[in-house]
Symmetry: C2
């Protein structure tokens, strides 16, 4: 019986994780949940899963939830809130496995504390590796515990890497769907609307990640994540466009053999893999190879999608540059979604902010969070001057 | 330093193996070679590699070779001949690794003796698994030594299997190029010429295997080999047509993940893999993923290619049926190449012979070879009656 904590239980990955737990009640047990601002769903999850601890964003929400649980006759659930509540969920002594799926830097501290507490962590939070990859992977090595990737690409890489040793890897190839503008000529980019950018061809995801997929910044973040997770320089990571998203990524070994992982585009699969690793258990998430007809590939166009190039550059430098890349991107994407800047201005804004951020070497999560906040302020000021309006909200989203 | 014996050194796989050895002189050393009837090439190989033992087909050839070596001032090479000579090469006490690459049942006994002598064997000889798979895999298990597949499909499967445990495998998918008649309507099969059948789209190989690829019997043999090598029933093996032969095979795990292996179509790659397993060493056999554009897939047409269906049926029954399948196919293909029967008569002839062969359970290599010989006689008689001519040569090819 694996005892699980979920950071971000009301989000997309959190709900998929609970769906996996539901399918295997004899294997997994929910110990603690960190929900967000969706108190109604948090209440439903408490009713269904009876965690020892449940955390919500605000103190007022926690009070509200306590009353509702009491009225419903549900007892034995400790309700906590805020950043410290999330850490309580992440480090609960009864959990073996922590699913880190809070979106944004809000997940950073709790994930780091989970790693530090010796938990095996399944990582779906991008910022943990993009902004604080060196710190978190170093701590995991110290603890001798694996960081298991819960996203389709790195999970695929993790599977393919089983075909050899790390020093036998020549190159990791991350596949990219190419997003909705793969075949849009760059001359038409000026006309791109928010609705078009939100229309991803293969995956249904949150708004920010969908825009990041349209700019290929999401793939850029994945390049940085791959560097940190697998301890490889960006020169050993490549991106290949594969519109069907059937092959989730590939590993090329020094002898010339390449292993690839294929599956349905369903996040429950990497979640199940991480939860059961090193074992595999039967699921109904079947990909029908008999129905497979064509797979297409092409190299990415770095000039058309400069965000990808920016990410490779930030990965080479590391330190503050990847923190800035992530923070500036979040502000730029918000500004695009709000109509304050155009699609093509996203990479321009990010490039400016990143180039102005010192490389630095970040020694703690606190330093990462401080730099993140100051980069957001700078980025928001640039948005304001670009759009001629007052700065957009600069705070990191609270969970 | 790995010390290598090669059974079939003058054939295609044997020469590729020597090419691999040549590329890594500090890793591999040639201990013994079993050549065939090509004494000129055997002489060149002796000059270049100075094996301890060299075997040729006939006594007269051995005498000839001894004189030539003496004249050239080359000493210290024991020259042997015939089936016992091949066994001497296969079991030489100084070798660690035996490459089994003699075509036909001639390679059976020596390969079995190599396994029995505790050697690690790299298998390129099809008959070892098709005709005597139960015996050879049982002996390898007794010895606790791996049988490493040296053909692109099973080698790919071997690599993909590293991504999980054997009891986590749902299905093995062998890819098939589909051969030259993939898109030929079955109504045109009556007109197929030998030249057309010898024109394989992706691999350059010997005549028999090329015809076997055109009928898909080669894929059928590979289904049987996969059953024996990986200890799975034929119900867990599938074939998928993939004309580019870029993905060499795939393994589907119970959780729904599928791993695939891709590489150049160069036999040196599986040879290198087998020789260095469990390590991988850098080679120049690179597949350029950046240049990859399309991969196509389709299910095989069992009605158009009945040989594949015959192989699945023989795999289910086992015993004498797979011996008969192989022997009847060799006679049928020879008859087709000689113009005695038509392309479409190949499966008809095989089906008749296999259905008349008792299942039996074969307890020794000798029993396999006896059954093989009697099946050939029956098959040759059927060819004669079909073509109205005298029976074609029925003996198993000597090395």
């Amino acid at each position: 019986m694996k005892r699980i904590a979920i950071l971000g239980s009301t989000g997309s990955i959190g709900r998929s994780t609970l769906s996996v737990v539901e399918s295997f009640p004899d294997r997994f047990q929910v110990v603690s949940l960190a929900a967000g601002r969706n108190v109604d769903l948090a209440f439903e999850q408490a009713k269904r899963w009876h965690p020892r601890v449940l955390s919500v964003a605000l103190e007022s929400q926690a009070e509200n939830l306590k009353h509702r649980l009491k009225s419903a006759g549900i007892t034995g659930i400790e309700v906590v809130h805020g950043a410290s509540g999330t850490v309580t969920v992440a480090t609960h002594p009864e959990s073996d496995f922590v699913v880190s799926a809070i979106v944004g830097v809000a997940g950073l501290e709790a994930t780091y504390e989970a790693v530090k507490a010796g938990k095996t962590v399944g990582l779906a939070n991008k910022e943990c590796l993009v902004a604080a990859g060196e710190l978190i992977t170093a701590e995991a090595r110290r603890q001798g515990k694996p960081l298991l990737p819960i996203d389709s690409e790195h999970n695929a890489v993790h599977q393919c890497l089983r075909g050899g040793q790390m020093d036998e890897v020549r190159r990791i190839w991350l596949t990219a769907s190419g997003g909705p503008f793969l075949n849009t000529p760059v001359s038409k980019f000026v006309d791109i609307t928010v609705a078009q950018a939100l229309n991803h061809p293969t995956w249904k995801m949150g708004n920010r990640i969908t825009i990041d997929s349209a700019t290929l910044m999401n793939k850029g973040f994945e390049v940085i994540e791959a560097c940190r997770l697998f301890n490889l320089p960006p020169e050993q990571i490549s991106v290949i466009v594969h519109p069907q998203s059937t092959i989730h990524s590939l590993v090329e070994f020094v002898d010339g053999s390449i292993l690839a992982q294929l599956s349905v585009t369903d996040m429950r699969l990497p979640i199940l893999y991480a939860l059961t690793y090193p074992d595999r258990i039967p699921s109904e998430l079947n990909f029908s190879l008999s129905d497979l007809r064509h797979l297409d590939f092409s190299p990415p166009d770095m000039e058309k999608f400069p965000c990808l190039q920016l990410a490779f550059e930030a990965a080479k430098t590391g330190g503050g540059k990847t923190v800035a890349l992530n923070a500036a991107d979040e502000i730029a994407v918000s500004a695009f979604l709000e109509g304050s800047i155009r699609f093509q201005e996203i990479p321009l804004l990010i490039q400016e902010v990143v180039s102005e951020t010192p490389v630095g070497k970040l020694e703690s999560i606190k330093e990462v969070l401080m730099l993140d906040r100051s980069v957001r302020t700078i980025a928001a000021e640039k948005v304001a001057s670009l759009s001629g309006r007052s700065p957009v909200s600069v705070g990191a989203r609270k969970n």
